[in-house]
């Protein structure tokens, strides 16, 4: 399991780095420069822009790497009401993966704990599925 983030203001990058650390050094990289190996499972962490849109850089990344996507975390701004963090809902429904957390900007301590728990549970047990056809 690896963490892949897309970040504009740095909030998602900082959140991803913190989760990686707290989960015991899980590999982490950005959609731009550290793509996962084909089929390697990963958690995507991204942000929301416009009217609840998926950032173009995230969409481009998913066009070639969706195979390993296991879950999504989306950051947004609470000001947007129903569109708050909506990129996450869109990705979750399009790729049929769980929306692990919706962050208001950089997220809270409890958001971080929740995502770290999710990542840990996918490191041990059913999450790691190298070599199988799932």
């Amino acid at each position: 399991m690896r963490l892949v983030f897309d970040s504009l203001t740095g909030n998602v990058r900082r959140f991803a780095l913190a989760v990686s650390r707290e989960a015991g050094g899980v590999p982490v990289g950005s959609v731009r420069d550290a793509p996962p190996a084909p089929g390697e499972p990963f958690l995507l962490l991204t942000y929301t822009f416009g009217q609840g849109e998926v950032p173009a850089s995230t969409a481009a990344f998913l066009r070639s790497h969706a195979g390993g996507l296991r879950g999504v975390v989306s950051s947004g701004s609470y000001h947007w009401g129903e569109n708050f963090g909506r990129a996450g809902d869109r990705i979750a429904s399009e790729f049929r993966v769980p929306l692990v957390a919706r962050l208001n900007k950089g997220g809270t301590v409890s958001d971080r704990e929740q995502v770290t728990r999710w990542v840990r549970s996918h490191l041990s047990g059913g999450g790691e599925t190298y070599g199988t056809l799932d």
Binding site: Q51, H79, S110
Partner: protein, 332 residues
């Protein structure tokens, strides 16, 4: 003597990866207060208690002063100092939006208040010590002749403090009321203003992060110490202002929580550590943010729930859908 030639704005080769997106965002969410009729609220206004009306009108008048400061002083100061035609255009657009906000508050006053009440509330703005302190503190940073990276960063930071944190003592009450189903059209205007300010706060914070990155370690430490001091001074001033506005409606504590929540968002935008512990905010206030406007006409639909309408040319497929080549066969 040779002059440096004046250059034109090249939108095909932007100076960074994000300014064009923000500029386009602003053009797509541009709105005017005249688009939202307030007549339903004028009836609700009369049903409010005197204390409720007092808090509402003074919260809004304070916001008018702060948006005037941003439109007239803050955004022009940043626009003058930030290099890049597209960045300058984006900041100037933001300044114009602030002026629209100030006009919105004034139009709401005009709708709900008598001329005598209106004059009294504008006089209150001039005499309110915490409001004037806040304006003077921030105005001094904008006027500071230091235009080094550190000086520019400070100007951007106080701009973000307004957009992302210091407006929220004022936003609280109209959001709470809208969340309770009262003053919902005015609440729609406040929501539109909040969406604008939320994006301004992100944009200027991105510019600020660049200036912060340009500082060396010692300067960054100095910058952070300045930030802590300024935040502490303005936060304490804000609590006193909040007490003046909200004590009579018994909400001082709850507004304090909302202010700390928004100061944490400010820190997130600036890429700094959050200064306050995580707290939940009043769900009724959140409900005020989520309240869907019902007053928009179809063609001017904007806001958090609507996109500006796009036009696309008719294509053959559109007709094929209406008049399929083969007649539809009944399913049985």
């Amino acid at each position: 003597m040779t002059r440096t030639p004046f250059t034109a704005t090249n939108w095909s080769e932007p100076e960074d990866s994000f300014s064009v997106t923000f500029y386009e965002k602003y053009t797509s969410q541009l709105w005017f207060p005249e688009e939202i009729p307030l007549s339903n609220d004028a009836i609700v206004w009369k049903s409010l208690t005197e204390a409720e009306r007092w808090t509402y009108m003074h919260a809004s008048a304070g916001l008018n002063a702060l948006d005037t400061l941003q439109g007239e002083v803050g955004m022009p100061a940043l626009r003058g100092l930030v290099p890049g035609h597209i960045r300058k255009a984006t900041l100037q657009f933001q300044g114009m939006m602030e002026d629209i906000h100030a006009r919105s508050y004034s139009l709401m006053n005009k709708t709900f208040l008598s001329t005598t009440e209106e004059r009294a509330v504008f006089a209150w703005v001039e005499a309110q010590p915490q409001l004037q302190f806040k304006i003077a503190f921030i105005g001094d940073v904008f006027a500071d002749p230091d235009t080094s990276d550190f000086g520019l960063w400070r100007k951007m930071v106080v701009s973000c403090m307004l957009e992302t944190a210091l407006f929220y003592s004022g936003f609280y009450y109209p959001l709470l009321m809208a969340g309770q189903g009262r003053m919902v059209s005015a609440g729609e205007i406040f929501n539109l203003i909040i969406l604008d300010e939320a994006v301004h706060g992100v944009y200027v914070a991105l510019l600020a992060q660049e200036r912060f990155e340009a500082l060396n370690d010692a300067q960054q430490a100095e910058a952070l110490a300045w930030f802590d001091g300024a935040l502490d001074t303005l936060y304490r001033n804000e609590l006193a202002y909040t007490d003046t506005l909200y004590a009579r409606v018994g909400l001082t504590e709850d507004v304090g929580r909302f202010i700390r929540f928004n100061f944490n968002i400010l820190a997130d935008n600036l890429g700094l550590e959050r200064r306050f512990p995580d707290e939940d905010i009043n769900p009724v206030v959140l409900n005020g943010i989520r309240t869907r406007g019902t007053t928009h006409d179809f063609f001017s639909a904007k806001g958090s729930s609507y996109a500006k309408l796009n036009v696309e040319p008719l294509a053959d497929e559109d007709f094929a859908e209406l008049w399929p080549e083969r007649p539809a066969v009944a399913h049985d």
